[in-house]
C-alpha cells in the first residue's frame, strides 16, 4: 500500500465537491485543478511565464508525442522535461494510450502492448506498458499514467470487458516496472459505459495500489448525460483518500458538473485549441472573435475578467489579429482562455472552502443564461 499524495482540506456539505491538495516532487498543487495541455513540450502559444502569471499550477505533457518527437532519451539526456521546456512546477504525463487510439488508424493492440505507426512518418513503433513507464521515467514527470486501452463509444459489453481486463493486466505490469518513487503513478479506470465493469476495474486497480486514480474512456463521443452519469457513478466507487482525475474533460460546464460530483483533476485541449480557432470563453458564455460585430468593439473580451489580455486589449484588436492571421492572436487568445479555465477552478476551490459551492454553481448558470438573451 502506498501513502497517498492527496490531502483533503474540506468538503462541500451539500454535494460531493471537495477541496484538497496533491504533493509531488515539484511542489504541491491545489484541487480541484485544471491542467493546461502541453502536447509537444510546450503549451501552444504561451511561455512558462505566461502560464505562471495566469495561475497554472501543473501542466500535462503527452507521452506519445514526446516519444515520437524529439524522443524521451533525448529529453532525458538534456535533463528531463522540466528543464527542457523551462517549467519548474509539476507535470503530469499521460501514457500515450489515448493518442495511439485516436491518431493512429493502424494501431494494433496485443497482450504485449500497442503496435502503431508514427503520425509523422508512418514508421512502425511499439509501446508496451513497461515502455510507457520507461518513457515517462525518462521524461521525469511528477505524475505518470499507466498505459491503457481506450474503448470507443459505443462498444459491446464483450469488447468492453476484454479491453478493461487488458488494461488491468497492463496496470499490474506498469506498477511492477515503476522504479522511480519520486514519480507518482496513477491507474486508469476503464469499463466503458457499464457501471459494473467500472466497479470491477476500480477493484482491480486498488488491489494493485496506485498514487491516484483516473477515469478514462469518457468524452469519447458519448452523450453528455451518459458522461455525467458515468462520472458520478465511477467517482462514488473510487478510493476517497486518493486523487480522482477525469481525463480529457472538458467544457466549463463539464468542469462545474464534475467538481460537483467529486472530481479533483482535469485536463483538456479545449481552452488552447479553441483559442487558436478564435473561440473565447467568458463568464457569460462563448464568443467567436471573428464575428463582424466585434469590428469596432472597444470592450475587453470579458468585462468581468482581469487577465493580461482583458486589461490591455479590445475585442476589435483581437478580431483584427485573428483576421490578419497574426501569431499574437493565438498567444493572446490562449492566455485569456487558459486564465478563464484556471480562474474558474480557483473560484470553485474558494466556493468549496466557503461551503457555498451549490450557490456558485447556480450563479454560474444564471449569468450564462442571461447572456444568451443579451
Amino acid at each position: 500500500m502506498t501513502v497517498s499524495p492527496f490531502r483533503l482540506i474540506c468538503r462541500s456539505s451539500k454535494s460531493a465537491a471537495r477541496r484538497g491538495e496533491v504533493r509531488t516532487a515539484h511542489g504541491t498543487f491545489q484541487t480541484p485543478i485544471f491542467m493546461p495541455v502541453g502536447t509537444q513540450a510546450t503549451v501552444k502559444g504561451v511561455t512558462p511565464e505566461n502560464l505562471k502569471e495566469l495561475g497554472a499550477q501543473i501542466i500535462l505533457g503527452n507521452t506519445y508525442h514526446l516519444f515520437v518527437r524529439p524522443g524521451h532519451q533525448l529529453i532525458k539526456q538534456l535533463g528531463g522535461l522540466h528543464k527542457f521546456m523551462n517549467w519548474d512546477r509539476p507535470i503530469l504525463t499521460d501514457s500515450g494510450g489515448f493518442q495511439i487510439f485516436s491518431l493512429s488508424d493502424l494501431a494494433k493492440i496485443t497482450e504485449q502492448g500497442a503496435a502503431f505507426k508514427s503520425h509523422l512518418d508512418g514508421s512502425d513503433l511499439f509501446l508496451s506498458p513497461e515502455d510507457a513507464i520507461e518513457v515517462q521515467e525518462a521524461l521525469g514527470s511528477d505524475i505518470m499514467m499507466c498505459l491503457d486501452t481506450c474503448i470507443p463509444y459505443p462498444s459491446s459489453r464483450d469488447e468492453t470487458i476484454a479491453a478493461t481486463e487488458l488494461t488491468a493486466r497492463w496496470a499490474k505490469r506498469s506498477r511492477v516496472a515503476h522504479q522511480n518513487r519520486d514519480q507518482l503513478l496513477f491507474g486508469i479506470i476503464q469499463g466503458g459505459m457499464y457501471e459494473d465493469l467500472r466497479a470491477q476495474a476500480i477493484e482491480q486497480l486498488v488491489e494493485i495500489g496506485f498514487d491516484g486514480y483516473a477515469i478514462g474512456g469518457l468524452s469519447v463521443g458519448e452523450p453528455v448525460e451518459i458522461m455525467r452519469e458515468m462520472t458520478e457513478k465511477t467517482i462514488a466507487l473510487m478510493p476517497d483518500d486518493y486523487p480522482k482525475y477525469l481525463m480529457g474533460v472538458g467544457t466549463p460546464e463539464d468542469l462545474v458538473e464534475s467538481v460537483y460530483r467529486g472530481v479533483d483533476m482535469f485536463d483538456c485541449v479545449m481552452p488552447t485549441r479553441n483559442a487558436r480557432n478564435g473561440m473565447l470563453f467568458t463568464s457569460t458564455g462563448r464568443l467567436v472573435i471573428k464575428n463582424a460585430r466585434f469590428r469596432d468593439d472597444h470592450r475587453p473580451i470579458d468585462e468581468a475578467c482581469d487577465c493580461y489580455v482583458c486589461r490591455h486589449y479590445s475585442r476589435a484588436y483581437l478580431r483584427h489579429l485573428y483576421m490578419a492571421r497574426e501569431i499574437l492572436s493565438s498567444q493572446l487568445n490562449t492566455i485569456h482562455n487558459l486564465h478563464y479555465f484556471v480562474s474558474l477552478m480557483a473560484k470553485m476551490r474558494q466556493a468549496i472552502e466557503d461551503d457555498r459551492f451549490e450557490k456558485f454553481r447556480d450563479d454560474f448558470y444564471a449569468i450564462r443564461s442571461n447572456q444568451d438573451r443579451a
Copy 2:
C-alpha cells in the same frame, strides 16, 4: 524652418558615427537605433512587454497594411495605434510607398498619387500624398513619412529623375497637408544610384523643411557595395542637425557599416522574419536552428547573450519547437533575434560614447570570422 527633434550627444573621433537622441510625443529614443517592424499593429510573435524587456525603444508600423486592414478610421475611433496595440513608446509609420511598390503588381503612379489593388481582395485603392498624411494622422504615430515613389534597381537616369522629382513634389504636398504638429514628419530622399540626383533630392527636401530625413530606395536589389557607397555619399550631404534614417536596412553588418557612416535610425523585417524561418543571429554569426547538429545541443543560441531565450532554453529545445512547427518557436526565436539587433545598437551607442567605435567594429568582424572556422 522647424526645430529639430534631434539632439547630438557625441561623435566618434575617427568615423562619421554619432550618438544622439530624438524627442517625440511618446518619449525620447536613443540613436543610433533599430526599430522592430510591427506590420499589422503587432510585431509578429511578441507582446509589447516582450519588446520592452528586450529593450525596444521605438517600433515601426506599416501605413499600407493598416490602411488596407483594419483601416485607419477604425484605429482612430479606437483611440489610435498606440492604444489599439498596447504600445506606449514611440511609433514611426512608413508612408505605404514601399509596400505599394513591392506588393502590388498593378500599382499605377500618377501625379495625383498611387492607384493600386489591395493584396487582400484585389479591390481598387488610391493613396495620394495627402491621403498618406491623413492616414498617419489618424493612426497617431510619432513620426510620419512622406509618400514617396520607390525606384527599382536598376533604373535609367531618366526614370530616376522622373521618380525623384515626383517624390519631391509629393513631399511638398505632404508638408502642406501635415496638420498635427505633435507628429513629426520625415522626408524621403530618392535619387536611385545617382549621387547628383541624391544631392538634388536632399536640396529640395531641405528647402521644404522636415523633422528628419530618410534615405529611401536602397536595399532594393543593388549590390551591397553600391548600397554602402550610396549611403556614405548621401549621409554626407544630409543636414547634420536632423535625424538620418536609412530605411529597410539591414543585416547586422549593414547596421555596423551604416552607423560607421553616420546613420541614426534603422528598420528591417530581417530579425523577425528570419526568426520565424529558424535563422538566428548570434555574436559569432548566423545559426540555422533546424540543422541536425543542434539535435542534442544543450547550449543556448548564443553563449554571449543574456536574453530571456538564452537564459532559459537550449538549442535542442528550440530545434524541437521548430521541427514540431510550434508557435513558441516563432515567439522565442523572435525575442532572441530582436534582442540581438537591439543590443547590437546599444553596444554601438556605448562604443561611440566611449569613443572606441572603430575598435568595436574590428572586434565585431573578428569574432565572426573566428566562428566561421569553428
